[in-house]
């Protein structure tokens, strides 16, 4: 049963304070040109159905709680992908008074996709990389690995070098306790 979760991961998408640019690219991934459904990926509106959390845009005082709530509602194991430079670090809006910064200020992030706006190819690549992390987290859960360091090791092994043609960065943030 453990093998199947990465064959059909469901994603939930939340727009932090993005400009829409990354959101429409996330949606573009679902449409015939890029077609992520070939990886079994389905976009769903309910966080309790989801395995992968796609966040676009930075976090602020107002949506901090919502992002956290969606994250907490998702079942374990789960993976968070920060899409676009705003979700990674705050980007061009970093200095704005109402922007806290990247999504990792609030929840742990497993994959970062830079770019303004992030390209669909990069988003797909990051989600597929995230699946490796998902699998590792799942294995760690099943093997009841108790020590956090071991989980981290497994997760790090799962993240390969990023593909060269797509400028993207994948960082692992370690497993959940």
């Amino acid at each position: 049963m453990s093998a199947y979760v990465t064959k059909s991961p469901w994603v939930v998408h939340y727009d932090g304070s993005s400009c829409n640019g990354c959101d429409i690219e996330v949606l573009a991934c679902l449409t015939p040109m890029y077609d992520v459904e070939r990886f079994g990926i389905i976009n769903c509106g309910n966080p309790k159905h989801a395995d992968v959390f796609l966040v676009t845009g930075s976090v602020n005082e107002q949506n901090k709680g919502i992002v956290k709530q969606i994250y907490e509602q998702m079942p374990e194991p789960k993976v968070v992908v920060a899409i676009g430079i705003c979700a990674c670090s705050g980007g061009i809006f970093k200095d704005c008074y109402n922007v806290l910064g990247g999504v990792d200020q609030v929840i742990p992030v497993d994959a970062y996709v830079p770019g303004c706006a992030a390209r669909p190819e990069a988003i797909i690549d990051a989600v597929v990389k995230g699946l490796g992390v998902l699998q590792a987290k799942r294995e760690a859960m099943l093997n009841k690995v108790e020590k956090v360091e071991e989980v981290e090791e497994v997760v790090e092994d799962a993240v390969e070098e990023p593909a060269e043609e797509v400028a993207e960065e994948v960082k692992s943030e370690g497993g959940e306790e």
């Binding site: 602020n60 005082e61 107002q62 008074y97 109402n98 806290l100």
Partner: protein
């Protein structure tokens, strides 16, 4: 090369006591509310610009107020003005009286109160 046609910039300065009468005149004249914009002039003065449009011609009313002064709401005349008045209230800290739809500072929920207000 053709000459560029610039948008006519019609500005009229009004003061607080005239505002409601002036805005009422605009409404009676068939103008549509374009926008309301707050500008920080200096440490203790704001400028509020009311823009109206009729047949694609712009007409602006300019209102200068001291920080802390209260302004009469125009939502009784132009109901859609509530969006701008609440926005200016939340960002600049200008109090609008007798508003038809007052969010009491809950329109924009932001981490910093009245971020545009000059810090003394």
């Amino acid at each position: 090369m053709s000459e560029r046609v610039f948008v006519e910039q019609n500005f009229e300065t009004v003061d607080l006591s005239q505002l409601i009468a002036k805005v009422g005149d605009m409404k009676a004249g068939g103008y549509r509310l374009g926008q309301i914009c707050g500008v920080v002039l200096d440490d203790d003065t704001y400028e509020i610009i009311y823009t109206f449009d009729k047949g694609h011609q712009l007409y602006n009313l300019r209102l200068d107020i001291k920080i802390g002064e209260e302004v009469e709401s125009i939502t009784g005349i132009y109901w859609p003005a509530f969006i701008y008045e609440n926005e200016i209230h939340d960002l600049f800290g200008v109090q609008f009286n007798h508003s038809a739809l007052d969010y009491q500072g809950k329109f924009f929920k932001i981490s910093e109160e009245t971020p545009w207000k000059p810090k003394k």
